[in-house]
């Protein structure tokens, strides 16, 4: 288990005492499940997401014979992950728009660092289930899912399902939320800040600092070019730190 509590800051104006450019304590616990080919319990402060990677040596029908693999993701939230209980999507009989949207985002983000040809005709499904939600669940999910994915790829290698000649993972990938709260651009928003943010942005960045996704939304007030620039700066700093935490977690002895 890898745990990082940033050193305390001097000029804290945030409810939890963090500096504007400071992450919440991040914890990555590998091997949380016995059977999954990769599994991670990732925590960004009070947000806890269980990321399970399932490896199968086949591909969806439309990929058969292509020589290429497939990586996809499904995101969901337990009914009492939040302050008040939500109805289950299974009971409602349909997956909501937000769930769909985030599942697609996680899948795209991971595929951005996967060489599907090197993966061969194998599929890895990442299930990201939010056990407790305190803001930033999608960014925690992407960050944890990358580590579970890396473990599943290693499992594929050890079990001779994946060739060792080519690199399946071309880079690492992590994500963080940024936003403007009370006029101040801040990094990694917990729920209490999220609901008050005038602008909210999720940024997905590779280990080498390239953008994969930039999704900014004016929640209460539209934003100008300089605000956008400030948010992007914060996000690049945050994801650089997350990349270091991911690397440290993967450097530990696997499960």
């Amino acid at each position: 288990m890898t745990s990082h509590s940033p050193s305390s800051s001097t000029s804290a104006a945030r409810a939890d005492g963090r500096r504007p450019d400071e992450l919440r304590p991040v914890r990555i616990t590998r091997g949380w499940l016995d059977a999954a080919e990769g599994s991670v319990l990732v925590e960004f402060g009070g947000t806890r997401v269980l990321c399970a990677a399932s490896f199968t040596d086949s591909v969806p029908r439309w990929r058969k014979g292509s020589g290429e693999g497939w990586v996809t993701a499904e995101y969901a939230m337990l009914p009492r992950a939040t302050n008040t209980r939500s109805d289950r999507e299974s009971v409602k009989g349909r997956v909501g728009g937000r769930t769909h949207e985030i599942s697609r985002l996680i899948g795209r983000s991971l595929r951005a660092v996967v060489d599907v040809r090197a993966l061969g005709e194998n599929t890895i499904v990442l299930d990201c289930d939010v056990l407790q939600a305190d803001g930033g669940t999608r960014t925690a999910a992407i960050t944890g899912a990358y580590v579970a994915l890396a473990d599943a790829v290693a499992w594929g290698r050890r079990n001779k399902k994946v060739s060792t000649r080519a690199e399946v993972l071309t880079d690492s990938v992590s994500a963080v939320s940024v936003g403007i709260v009370d006029g101040v651009p801040v990094l990694d928003l917990p729920y209490v800040e999220d609901v008050r943010a005038q602008t909210d942005m999720n940024v997905v960045v590779t280990g080498s600092g390239q953008f994969v996704e930039v999704q900014g939304t004016a929640e209460q007030k539209s934003f100008d070019r300089s605000e956008l620039d400030a948010l992007l700066d914060l996000a690049l700093g945050g994801t650089a730190e997350l990349a270091r935490i991911q690397a440290a977690a993967l450097a530990e002895d696997g499960r």
Copy 2:
């Protein structure tokens, strides 16, 4: 957190070295979630179920004005709780028969020890989500859900939603699986025993030793009266021990 590892036995014939009448190590962790009015991570060996109790001060429409409360439960399994991944019921768009059946069983079992009049017009929903499945998920869920329910009732008392004059919980309730494996009646079956059992029974028992539910199924071979009696004996012993573990957990300082 309350953890009980039974003392090792002398005549172990089971794969995990247990005596026929021995429970797996049971662990009950209260307060696993920050927001839920009651929450328990319950573990029966490798089986891990997160039980969240949500308290609301209203009742379903058909109960309005009755002066009585309501307790219900929903059971579900994460897609990779099992050895191989299962499709999500939310994605399939319908809740499966097994899920329905177990949700109803948990609800009925808990209501057997609830005085709905003493609860008043409040509802407590128990969400039992299986994070890892290694046999006995429904019995672990009932056992853990009772503790989460007790915490939610206490929360209702502390917050003046429930009167302190009458006892809402008339008894405790726990559950255990029993079965005949290779001709031998055994207690608390893990997955490897479950798939080989010729008969499989789930028994729900109150703290005072009364039956709430008896569900026995001939999986491979029908069973006679003496086999049924042996299984019921084992179940009464197992649930008596579970009742002690529940009491010990609730005696600890709450979250």
Copy 3:
């Protein structure tokens, strides 16, 4: 058509004048449908269930090539089978938990007396549709479905789909409800007793008196070991009589 009205009793305390250990009049009408390979209209007093057996010479995909057959069941109720009309599950767009649960119970009960290898790669589906419900619909369904199944197996023999060398049916199977009403254990509960029962149990038993399923539920009050024993005694007596009625029905000239 086979019809059995038990001789009148002397000490009747039940609303319909039956002794505690007495079945309602049971009627089994074979060949109720022209096209089905087996069909039975079974009546337990006012409860009427139409059981249709459909034989097809193939098996579900997951059974292909196994040399084994498959038997399954679907239970449903017409909207006005009950005192007040219920909405159709087809219109609601989902099968309810109770329906699922009973369908699974009927299928398991029948499979307990089927040698799937002797059946060969054939499937028999039992559709059990409740035309009128007056308590005990699931036990009537199992009892009638066994007779329809026997007719469908005979059809398979006559039409050379099933080998005549091995016995497909290893035993007969029937079911009955028992319960404690006003403190008295009674057999075969009609609706008016069912709603007042403190404990309710459905028991499925083979022709040779072995248990297949035991499902007991404390509806209003948990039950102790001696009550459980009394209920099991009643159930064994009732199913023994049902087995005789089934045999008599099958001994008549088929359609």
Copy 4:
């Protein structure tokens, strides 16, 4: 029970020996269910439909306060009503187009003879479930449902839910199928004729001989005006006879 077997004909060219203008034996059994306010088992030859009328003293929300009642219908088929088994619509999770279409047709046909103002703010739902299908299920359903409806209206009168001052039923209504088979216009087609018909028409007619619905479809060959006229003549003859059979059934002593 009212049963009508038409006298045998001299020039029979049809498989079952009927004249072109002859109905199959029609049987109407009232009071088939104990609890429904009206219920009829109607048989047109081998076609058997159970029609249950449910009376409730309220109306759908959009009718509230209008002083007018509502009559509606739902049609469905048991899975093994036909030669080969069909999947249940409840299991498929959606009602098929044909089912919808027929339900709407039955409802419209009955409403054509109902004075909704005289009915008052009450609703009668007609459930028409096909137990066995041998052609003409929708026409048998309409013909039987009218009788069940009449019984439910009478029930409403006896129970003071409906005023006795105005006539709720302004006329009777029945329906029959007609078609051109091998170039010959024939009345009341069983399944074997239905599949060979080049044109198929369902006609709904009041007791006084007015058209309520005319639905003609060229199945294999379009039809000209004279063929259409011949089919309408047959239909008017058939429905006149059905009106007499309905009246005879209602003249018998009710259940």
Copy 5:
């Protein structure tokens, strides 16, 4: 684009000044979509339906190897095609009965003039989407869909998917609504007349004047034989004119 505004009449009693036997202005615009193999925007007065024909060189599974093609249709309405907005069927999660009914009607009507053997193992799907509804949407859809179908067949010929030896289309087909409004039989009812009609009929007729479908419904009052005859006369006149308009549209230079 082909546009026909009938010459003004002398004795107009209808709200829009038309004679009882007069069509609304009909406009058929071919090639409205760039990619579809056939596409028509058809207008009957204010009713506007976009008909798109999609040609694929395969057939549904149950037709494979038959040497025969398949033609089918799907009808739908945009949410604000009507005076007040309707919910989307995609959002409601189910296709309504009316939609199903009309889709099936359009498909049957077109197949009445298609020689599926001459089409070969190809499928043509007609999507008829109502952009604006002012009465007669199903009849406009059939009339426009025939033209789109003809263009798709021609596309199949040009692209060597369909043999040029046999005629795929054995005739043309069009449809019109007729009804009795204020006691007067009238042709091609707009919405304001439709809601007041006592009887409403949709008639589908081939170019050679044979009936394909006759669907008459007593909306407020049943109708007698002479009224039916008057409506059929009007419908034959209207469809004869529509057949001429279709022919004129197809005679123009295609896209």
Copy 6:
């Protein structure tokens, strides 16, 4: 109708001859539907979207009594809007993730320029149905929906549903796609460029040049800060031009 064909450029490298910073011909046709309170057919080159605004003088339950109105949107595509036919979401029984995502984006974008308090307790629903898709359907939808929204607000004013004292629309809003194709940042991508883009971004901007949404996705290759800056520059230029086109359309005499 307002139509803008940008003047031809000198250094065109794009398939359709446009400069990298040039929009496709944009056409906005107001009043396309007779009944809708606002309606626009918007065209960006071959992309055609019908935007209908429905005004109702009530709000969803959760807004009742707040004094605030609500604006929401639903996006959908006709099955043959694309090169090959897609199945209907109504027939599949569920709305897909992409549809959900875009509907939510349109709704958020419009709400960014709406003062819900000035709107009062009224709801405006924007239905954006893609009749033909050639890239940029969501950006065309937002751009057209704003104009339909403005017309619906004006309708509300004329009909005294909305007060004339406060401004409901605080600004205008439009959207455009930008992307990197063959290494060159370009504006307003048609389908052929969209499928080849290495990075794809949709940008929503107010009339005063503030960002409302920035959604950038690395389709084939992640992107760096300078590429992001180039794309944002293009988007600001494009949306400034769209704002002028919207203003010109609204300056014309309404319907």
